[in-house]
Symmetry: D2
Subunit: 139 residues, 4 copies
């Protein structure tokens, strides 16, 4: 995996459980935020401005898989590495890796769907082909 | 304090920190949810249906105070007691108490504001007097 | 999937994101708590009492996969169905299904490892074969 | 208030609620983490190393108050400003302020207690006078 975005994240006390290690779902919060930052790093507007400027309503998760290889604890400064999306038609997958001192602690793959407002239902969404203007940013 | 709503909540592993006790902000999640359930218990529609049926957009928190008197841990089945709101004009306060085996563990007071859509700004909110139809439910 | 444990969970406002639906990692909090309750429902002591009574230190997650088929929103009372564990030697997998009005919204499979205190390292853990006394509870 | 520690925090999608703004308890997660970083910034070891090096078991929250003056949303890069602790004997208070574009959004005051292992009860804690070696770091 070649990271497109790498960021350092401090593991917080409030993300850890009574065993003293990160509660597994909190790792998925961290990966999900990296997905948002990935699009921003590629040059797209902030997610909150995407609907107005890009006509995209969001990219809900449809599939998730993760492997937890080594624990992390509060005070760890982990490296969160995120690869460029691999685009299907309306879906895309994103690989994340959380690394501490050169050791991979978590591997996570998200599959998400590009959605736009559905014209026929107020508040409704439908999937749509990821625009070429987005694909090209990661090419 | 006379409870208007009492519910039993199981403290979860994922709500506890490396000290093995509830991470303090999680208690405020529990109280905040009791506020929502309080209105529902009084006979109002579910919060998600309030905008359509009651013209209320929400009741954001403006002030919070809490005392943490005794810790709770995962597996505890605590009693969350919530008093009827004390109404001002557009604001109201709600008292919560979290009790375990007759011992008060947390006392929390929320102050919130009744808000409705602002007619002049799309997506905007403004505070509004709490309707008499709501006040009477707790009288 | 035949559920061994079914519980009704109210989806909370604080578990939902700006799209108005459950933020995906929160579903995994719900499933993880069901895993804990599953062992308790089978007759084992509460998780916090397991170390003393069963010599088990925990069962950390090593692998997770989930499919998000249909969204849930705050106020939904979902049914969380959890199957009996499928035991390997020291690992086991648990299937969860979150259902709303007969429609499956989430499918999740957790793989966890049975761990006990490592005698040679204070605070250390090692994996161990799941005891027959535990297996028999789900047979 | 004179900040002793200031850090920039990106507000995450997963910290915001269906109203599109930060769910109030999440602000308290942010402040609580700043308290931990405050001690580290003052020159103390990481919290996880404190028990071994400083004989301190933790500093649980006993009292919390917060005012929510202006909302924040995902994508906001807020400034979290934290003042030096004000020490009593075994307790101390810490003021936090969350600022966006020069506007104070949240004011929060935490009261915590310095605790050490209780010699007579395994796993037990008791409050203790904050050591002079800690006080002097903020003088």
């Amino acid at each position: 995996m070649t990271p497109f975005l790498t960021r350092i994240v401090r593991i917080e006390w409030g993300q850890c459980d009574p065993a003293g290690i990160v509660y597994a779902p909190r790792f998925l919060d961290i990966c999900g935020e990296s997905t948002i930052l990935l699009f921003e790093a590629a040059g797209l507007p902030k997610k909150r401005d995407m609907l107005g400027q890009l006509h995209v309503a969001g990219f809900p998760m449809v599939d998730l898989s993760a492997r937890f290889l080594s624990p992390c604890t509060y005070g760890d400064d982990v490296s969160v590495e995120t690869a460029a999306p691999v685009f299907g038609n309306s879906s895309f997958t994103i690989d994340h890796r959380i690394v501490l001192d050169g050791r991979t602690c978590v591997e996570c793959t998200e599959k998400r769907v590009w959605t736009v407002p559905a014209p026929d239902r107020p508040g409704g969404l439908r999937s749509a082909r990821v625009p070429d203007a987005v694909r090209i940013l990661f090419a």
